[in-house]
């Protein structure tokens, strides 16, 4: 693990770091105490699994509620939510950057909360409200976060962009966009290799200011 150069982000109190099972805390847990399945976030994962505890094998029918529409696919239970979106529903706006929960490109909203869709199985997400980048705009009318990313040039190649935008939407909703430094910290689960970070901060802050 790194020496937490990221944790001492300019002026951000340490206790404001994410601890709700998002990418960073998940990696901390997994990296630090791998195998200790009793760590709190993993218990809740297990409980969620138990809720769908019927045995599923081979190809089965599953229904995912994506962007307000129920969509049915035939897929194996090992298919991640990310692959279900991209490969089975042709919703390729959700990107695969690492498939390991390390880059945030696959960020979607499930029940309004941002998650890495590569770290959850499609079968576990049946019955939940899933929002992808394709569901954010209302027709031609862009979501304010999409507009702000365009205005502030919060993107270059665009590959991390859907994840950044959904993460930004959640960041504002969570109340984690009250200062520039807070945005920097709470948007740090979404990597951008082109280096659009200052522009992303500007975009998220603008939307937060209007919210």
């Amino acid at each position: 693990m790194n020496l937490d150069t990221k944790g001492d982000a300019a002026g951000t109190p340490h206790n404001s770091a994410p601890e709700d099972g998002t990418r960073r805390s998940f990696i901390k847990q997994a990296g630090g105490i791998l195998g200790l399945a009793l760590a709190p976030p993993l218990i809740s994962q297990a409980e969620r699994l138990t809720a769908f505890s019927k045995t599923v094998e081979g190809v089965s029918t599953m229904t995912l509620k994506v962007n307000g529409t129920a969509r049915t696919i035939q897929a194996e239970p090992r298919v991640s939510l990310l692959d279900a979106l991209r490969e089975y529903l042709d919703l390729t706006g959700t990107k695969k950057g690492c498939d390991h929960g390390q880059c945030g490109a696959c960020t979607v909203l499930v029940e309004g909360r941002r998650i890495n869709s590569c770290l959850t199985l499609a079968v576990m997400n049946q019955g939940k409200e899933i929002t992808t980048i394709e569901g954010l705009a209302k027709g031609e009318e862009l979501h304010p976060m999409q507009q702000a990313f365009l205005k502030h040039d919060g993107l270059q190649c665009g590959y991390c962009t859907p994840g950044q935008i959904l993460s930004g939407v959640a960041c504002v909703q969570e109340g984690h966009a009250t200062t520039d430094d807070q945005v920097r910290e709470w948007m740090s689960g979404n990597l951008c290799r082109c280096g659009a970070y200052p522009n992303i901060v500007a975009a998220v802050r603008e939307v937060a200011g209007k919210a």
Partner: protein
Amino acid sequence: MDNEPAFFETNGPGTGGIVGQPLDRVDGFAKVTGQAKYSAEYKLPGLTYGVLRTSEIARGKIQSIDTSVAAKEPGVLAILTHLNLPKLAKTPNDPDSKKAIGAPMGFLPLTSDQVHYAGQPVALVVADTYDRAVHAASLVKVNYAVEKPVVSFLDPKAQVFDPEKVQDGKTPGHTRRGNPQEAFAASPIQLTATYEHAINHHNPMEPGATTAVWEGPDRVTVYESTQGVTRTQKALSAMLGLPTEQVRVVTKYLGGGFGCKGSTWPHTILTVQAAKAVGRPVRLSLTRPQQFTSMGHREDQHQTLKLGATREGRLTALIHEKTSTTSPWDNYAEPNSRIINLLYNCPAFESTYQLGRANVMTSTFTRAPGEAPGSFAIECSMDDLAAQLGIDPLQIRLLNYADKDPTNGKPWSSKSLKQCYARGAELFGWSKRNPKNGATRQGRYLMGMGMATASYPVHNNQGTARIRLYADGHALVQTGATDLGTGTYTVMTQVAADSLGIAPDKVRFELGDTRLPTAPNSGGSVAAGTVSSSIYMAAQDVWQKLTKLAIQDKKSPLYRAKAADVVAEKGRLVLKTDKTKGEDFMALMKRADMPDIEGSGQGKYGAGYETGRAPGPADSGHEDDKGGHSMHSFGVHFCEVRVDPEVGTVRVTRWVSVHGAGRILNAKTARSQIIGGSIFGIGNALMEETFRDPNLARYTNASLGEYHIPVNADIPDMTVEFIDEHDPYINAMGVKGIGEISMVGVAAAVANAVFHATGKRIRSLPITPDKVMNSLAV
């Protein structure tokens, strides 16, 4: 415009002042809504999935490979290994074919039982779903006769040698100017320093990806994550033995590249062969760990720089030696010496490259290849010289300012470095810098200010573009360029709009397809200047044709005018002498019953523009110095860091970059690109390092969790400005690229700021907390 090079005047004929404006990205809507299709996102009938099985060992021989269990898995369609890979017309395994292919690496996996590097593909499994292919790939059993690998040039087993040339023959292994050894020996000030660089990986957010579709027995379409569709087409057609036009390569959106997508790597041809084998389209995306062993890297390297100077601080000699790791087949090294030779006025220079063969894949160009690590060495040493003599670091650079190119004595085509220094220093508040190192505290933190010069060549290149102008006032503009995220879609729309005198929303700009006119690889910062010039020239072709039409049309106000007296201005053809006399192209075309008119043009970039010569067979770097002027962009980075002396962390707290890079085509996207390159450089400076296991020669941190690139919280707000620079020698648009210069000097600026903060010089990248703590303990 026939013989003499044309030059685009900002407020001159045909312009609407759109070039330079901070237009929002024209591809932005597609990208923020998820509609932009990247190369692994094409929904094709019968699509199948390819997954690579890669070698766990770095050196040895495949004794046996058992695919029987994997082949029985449901959905598995084919398993390619070295035993059954369909035969290719050419492979890069022999040097002549490598050259014909333009391959970055002189070895193609699955053509032999030899394993040369960890992560080398040993099998490619195709199945009807991705998960089935992944699972089946894990069931392929490979037995190796394992040999002890050579890990790097530092490995005692490595053969270290003096290559005649490096960088695929583009850079001589030894260069000498003046009498460097004598001059150094006679210098009153002598500094010798060795700089170390970790392995860096490009890690674009979109991993390498290929989707291959055979449209017939001898015709294939490849959706490829590449910085150059033409180069990929050339490589594939050579390997397949097919006529060029029977290989189509498409790249509409590219999720970053940074050099690793500038060449055609093994997974691409293997996917094409897999598609042939199964008779269905195959999509293959590299996994993130595979990305580390599939598309090259920036090599691990040591540089030793000897700097001789007078007591007043004037350079007398620079002697540079670089030793780096290369693969078993290729003599690749980034050309670090180029910038060291060029940056300052110095009468004597020598550079030597040494290579050590090891069990690694071939390294490749990584953003600012050569210039990035080379600038680290020269710019840290210049800082040392300043410190030793008690001269301000900015002053020492001005003292050694090169008014002409020291390598060949040619005048610069343009150089605004002095203005960059002055403006940058003003924006940054350089005058407030404490002249003493290690003497500025803010609470428990040590604060430091550093700066470094940036420079990047205008490489010789050329490209073509086509314009179809419609009588309804719209235009279709086409060229086979790519947009890595740099803004090509946007800036070229602006150039076309101004060249044609129409609004940007009337322009449809298409790129990324070998069916379009040929454009260069987007690499070496050549795309903006080459492609914009080719579009401008295509527009001139359209205007010439329309002028001919007008002067023969009895109903035109320009009837019987001389063609030479007619100019295009804001969508109208008018008389030079009386601009009220003329008409717009729509009226002219409608009267002639022409629904559309086409023009094409060739844009030359760099020396070829000045000389009129073709750039030659190779791209970037070939015949760069043939013009009458030396062509480079210049700039400066200023950096403030905060060092925590208790744990050794370094944070960049302020950043200012000022560049003189010719005409800036879009103020918004250009600023973003400079910011992005600086962040790339901050990663290089402070955190990026791929570790090769010292026994196994395998990467131990091949993931984005453990290979640290900057995250949002690592980066402060940044200030970027450009000096208004007019350069009539470099191309018709006066554009210098900015993709690479943005990261040149960044690591040095950070390291110099750390030096200022702590008083301790760290010459090993990345500057991680352990190195800072060690330096403070001394």
